[in-house]
Amino acid sequence: MSDHLSVPARDTAFRREIRRAARAMVEARWPIFAVIFLLAASIAAAFGPLFAPLDPNRQNLVLRLAEPMAAGPDGSVFLLGSDALGRDVFSRLLSGARVSLLVGIAAIAVGGTIGIVAGLLSGYFGGWVDDLIMRVGDIQLAFPFILLAIMFLVVLGAGVWNLVLVLGVGQWVTYARIVRADTLSLREKEFVEAARALGDSTLSIIFRTILPNILAPLTVIASFNVASVILSEAALSFLGLGVPPSVPTWGSMLAESRDTLIANKWWLAVFPGVAIMLTVLSFNILGDWLRDFLDPRLRERT
């Protein structure tokens, strides 16, 4: 246990760090908007069905393609209009938030976990373990990701967890490379030597001594990554490879909107896209800010 040395100082240092982060965030202004938007989207994702004005899957063939703010059934209002089957666009957007955020974050959890473990093993053991892991990563990156995803999803079929798996596996290399580089440099540091001298097991050294010290930069990658995974999820849903058709997603809503585009039913095409864009933009802004905050030297690079 090498980390109990830092325990007494940790609590106040942690709080000070949080305060510093909050101040920096207010100063930078945009990240605050990003956080507020993402909080709202998360609430929509978690409790959306509770305050959705209508059932997102309830069809209403009399009130098809109603414009935004048009009167809905039983005194309700189609806030953002209704689609070709008379379903409420706003309620469907709220449901879509659930899929986008869930898939985005779960895929990062899958990819991040694989990548971190692979990177730690690669960096700590070196040798053939390192070679094997890194070459597999090279091969994967030599393949346009979306093609890989298409091929597996066609075979595996639509489904949230298939999507999470494919998108997650698609991300691991980035994490593995960064973790490997950091592990390599930490491996010979004094505190790792100390843990070794104290007789800690290899597993304990890797996961309790090294891992906590390399997590911070990964939050930056994760933030950008969530953004790009949400974009990929939307594209795959748009192609009909996402979740089953009964679950509304932003991507599949856009796919459906194409049929009524010529008839100028713009609200079906505009709102889901705005939702995707604002979510992705928020994660990108947050990633940018996190990078500057954690390591100002990196500011002008990447």
Partner: protein, 329 residues
């Protein structure tokens, strides 16, 4: 340098083997692949016949060996929906996809350089602010949605551009009919503008940021300061000293760029009913035409690997520092 080229070639071969492994095992990922080739109501007997006809009753390594053998002989299987060799159909759609990819690459690179430079030399001003904001937005817009929005605005509302279709340029060129190719060109480009912007914007945004930050870094180097203190005009310093080095990081990512662009092309083609490989894949996905999906994916992956190899080899020639790396492996 010879050893680097050799190593890079070997690496590409390993990657190609990896691609065949992945495409082969993708089929097995969902369990017995026979079910992908029969209708849902097929009888047990039909399933058995299909299994034997397609060779799925053999051991996996035998199947893989014959799969690779078929690929090597250019046999990618029969498309289930067209009843023709899958690769023929994909190759027919390839020129249109190449046109779109090149057009969007031109947008992504040619516009990124002036924008990135403009932002870097005016660092901290309104120019810089609006260009970086634009780049941030460009990286956050789904390409297919951008396509849909442009169809709504420039296609249906302003009626400036056609919203679908394609006028071939490469295809008549390859057939030796240069007259048709040349007379088609203006309309080819007109049809490429909206889908090209939709595909290229993400890369454009990323490259703009990359060039900006790369140039900012170079501008602080000693040799730039020396050039300035010699009293050289700012424009000359910028072009001869700074840009020369600032664009190297961009060259390294051109190869990867193709990957992004190809991915974008696949989706955006569907939006614009553009008759390339992407739309073909989309149709094949919906009809569960597995051989066609495989042929399309393998072809695009192959092109991507080849381009990456070429870009890396060109890079060795461009960056003199690479020669020094030789001994270090």
């Amino acid at each position: 340098m010879g050893s680097y080229i050799l190593r890079r070639l070997l690496q590409s071969i390993v990657v190609v083997i990896g691609v065949t492994l992945v495409t082969f095992f993708a089929l097995q990922a969902g369990g017995d692949p026979t079910y992908l080739f029969v209708s849902e109501r097929a009888s047990q007997e039909e399933i058995e016949t299909t299994r034997r006809a397609l060779g799925f009753d053999r051991p996996l390594h035998v199947q893989y060996a014959s799969f690779v053998g078929d690929l090597a002989r250019g046999n990618f299987g029969q498309s289930l929906s067209y009843r023709q060799p899958a690769m023929d159909i994909v190759l027919e759609a390839l020129p249109a996809t190449i046109e779109l990819t090149i057009f969007s690459l031109v947008i992504a690179l040619l516009l990124a350089i002036p924008l990135g430079v403009l932002a870097a030399i005016n660092r901290g001003t309104a120019w810089d602010g609006s260009i970086t904001t634009f780049a941030m937005l460009g990286q956050s817009i789904p390409n297919f949605w951008l396509g849909i929005m442009m169809i709504l605005f420039f296609g249906l509302y302003l009626r400036w551009f056609p919203i679908s279709g394609h006028v071939p340029f490469i295809a008549p060129m390859m057939a030796g009919d240069f007259g048709t190719a040349i007379s088609n060109l203006p309309r080819t480009i007109l049809h490429l503008i909206l889908p090209g912007i939709a595909v290229g914007t993400y890369s454009l945004a990323r490259n703009t940021r990359l060039i900006r930050s790369s140039l900012l870094e170079v501008l602080e180097q000693d040799y730039v300061r020396t050039a300035r203190s010699k009293g050289l005009p700012e424009m000359r310093v910028l072009i001869h000293h700074a840009l020369r080095n600032a664009w190297l990081p961009v060259v390294t990512i051109i190869g990867l760029e193709f990957g992004f662009l190809l991915g974008g092309v696949v989706v955006v083609e569907t939006v614009f009913s553009y008759p390339g490989i992407g739309r073909l894949l989309f149709a094949a996905i919906n009809q569960r035409d597995i051989p066609l999906v495989q042929a399309g994916v393998i072809l695009l992956a192959g092109i991507f690997i080849l381009l990456n190899l070429v870009v890396d080899l060109v890079y060795v020639r461009l960056d003199p520092r690479m020669k020094l790396m030789e001994g270090r492996g």
